[in-house]
Assembly symmetry: C2
Homo-oligomer: 334 residues x 2
């Protein structure tokens, strides 16, 4: 690997001039410039990222911590982040957090020790205070995904979950349903609480009444959705529709409904949340509340870039959900 000094010798200039040509920091006389460029090409020179980092204190990389990179949900988000990073000549360093405070802490420290220029963090284990501290006192700019922390709202990219929950319930109400159940995610997660709140508001606004026997807390996972559904069928067998806090739980729930001889959507209508790709593969295909994950990833990246270069790109912080109509909801006829 050639060094800047070798290039400078070949071009018969000083290393400083080579640097100037490459970084465009100071004008260089065209003929000189030309010689440098030729030398660079001849030696196939690439600047040493370590040395550059040491001198500039910037790495050209942004760190991403999410629950699990390989899940469809976070995968889509990371994809959006990567797009923007590439467009701006930055690279991505990823580290999964596995929804565990200790593990998330490790991931973040790891990324920081690698001198990332900034971080995109989706944390489920860490407390609000930890995140506030990280954002305020951390050594690098940090933006948050999927969690609205009031004190640092300007660095958060989130979904309007309350609105999404209401949207789901309203859609079912509009299709004639009244006995609408809801399987929530863990209520320790704001996402899950907000969706529940939206559901409740919509029901009350419609005069359908909120009845907590129709609500079961679960875990955002397929098996959990299946179990919660069995519980519902036992407790309130007269339900005509179920709103699941995410698509995975809806998938498990639909299986349970089938096993109990309830046709979807003939006997029970089902609606999910997220619109991950599996929604299109279920039978019937799943009507769901869509989160524009790729766009949210792009937004998070843009937000971070704003903090890195102090430009003012327009960034949406709160995304609106969108209802995707498929086949899992039927109109009630009476």
């Amino acid at each position: 690997m050639a060094t800047i000094r070798e290039v400078s010798r070949l071009a018969r200039v000083s290393p400083a001039t080579v640097s100037r040509v490459l970084n465009g920091t100071t004008p260089v006389a065209p003929p000189t410039r030309e010689r440098v460029l030729q030398a660079v090409a001849a030696l196939d020179y690439t600047p040493n990222a370590f040395a550059r980092g040491l001198a500039t204190n910037r790495s050209g990389g942004i760190g991403v911590t999410v629950n699990e990179v390989s899940s469809p949900y976070f995968g889509a988000f990371v994809f959006g982040v990567e797009q923007v990073a590439r467009e701006n000549g930055l690279h991505l360093m990823v580290s999964s957090g596995f929804a565990d405070a200790q593990s998330e802490r490790t991931s973040i420290d790891f990324l920081l020790s690698r001198r990332c220029d900034g971080l995109v963090v989706q944390a489920e284990g860490l407390a609000d205070e930890d995140l506030i501290d990280l954002v305020r006192r951390g050594p690098a700019p940090v933006v948050l995904f999927g969690r609205a922390v009031a004190e640092i709202e300007d660095v958060c990219v989130v979904m309007r979950n309350e609105r999404g929950g209401a949207m789901a319930a309203e859609y079912l109400l509009a299709h004639g349903h009244r006995r609408i159940a809801h399987v929530t995610g863990p209520l320790s997660f704001p996402d899950a609480r907000e969706r529940l709140q939206g559901y409740r508001r919509a029901l009350e606004a419609a005069g359908a009444g909120y009845d907590e026997r129709y609500v079961v807390e679960s875990d955002f996972r397929e098996e959990g959705g299946a179990r919660a559904t069995a519980r519902l069928l036992e407790r309130v067998p007269d339900l005509t529709a179920i709103f699941y806090g995410n698509d995975q739980m809806a998938a498990g729930g639909m299986r349970t409904l089938r096993e109990h001889g309830r046709d979807v959507p003939g006997d029970v209508s089902v609606i999910g949340f997220d619109d991950v790709f599996l929604a299109r593969y279920l039978t019937p295909t799943l009507t769901t509340v869509r989160q524009p994950l790729i766009d949210m990833g792009r937004a998070a990246a843009h937000l971070l870039l704003n903090r890195l270069d102090h430009k003012r790109r327009e960034v949406v912080h709160r995304f609106d959900p969108e209802l995707v109509e498929r086949q899992s909801v039927a109109r009630i006829v009476r």
Copy 2:
């Protein structure tokens, strides 16, 4: 951010001693060692990765290029790589290649310019020669995933696709099928060719005969699978089973079969390849040939580690497929 010099002053030793304590390169007297450790803790010192890289010429990171990080297929693979990386205190730098030679080249150069210690590459666009050149003359160790290049076989982690193709066909034959169609991936991909070859070998071995009217080339995508299936139904309407080159195409194909009034598996049995996530969500659930992607990711990472630290971890280079029985194949009764 504290520097090694500040730590050394606080501990009243030289910077060299601090370095020795932290890296364990040379024995340090216990009391001295203790003082250093306390100073490190007191100042919350983290070594500067740039300076360290400059001095050691190692970054502690490995680069990963795959078609698309966010796809379930590659996501699972990357997940395996990440596991091993973490276990060894390394971090991951990712860059998608999008199955395009130009883009893959850019990704690889990018990762290399970031001074990754090694690379895990899954390339679909680059030619064998490019990869051979990269492995042999590149500035860092490289291992390949999903492509067996004869000249550099020792750095390749692959699936026994031929065997997998045969396995799929044999399974259908064992269930009484004789008129078995095959929808392949792009035959420019070795994966697709090998699976086709296995299919052919199994059919011929069983005396069922190979008939190319039963074979349609497609693109590994859902829509392609749907179109290919329509073509098959037109050309050889008497088929009783279809082997798809991957699960995505099987998903599209099953939709087409339904649209044509063919029940799966009542009228037509279907088998896929890969066993990605979605196979379990289709209706009926998809019988398929499983690739142990996470294990393959771990193997690729171990292989790379072997080249980095010259240890000799046992690594499987060629993985055996495994048939996962679900509901999409029925026995033919006559």
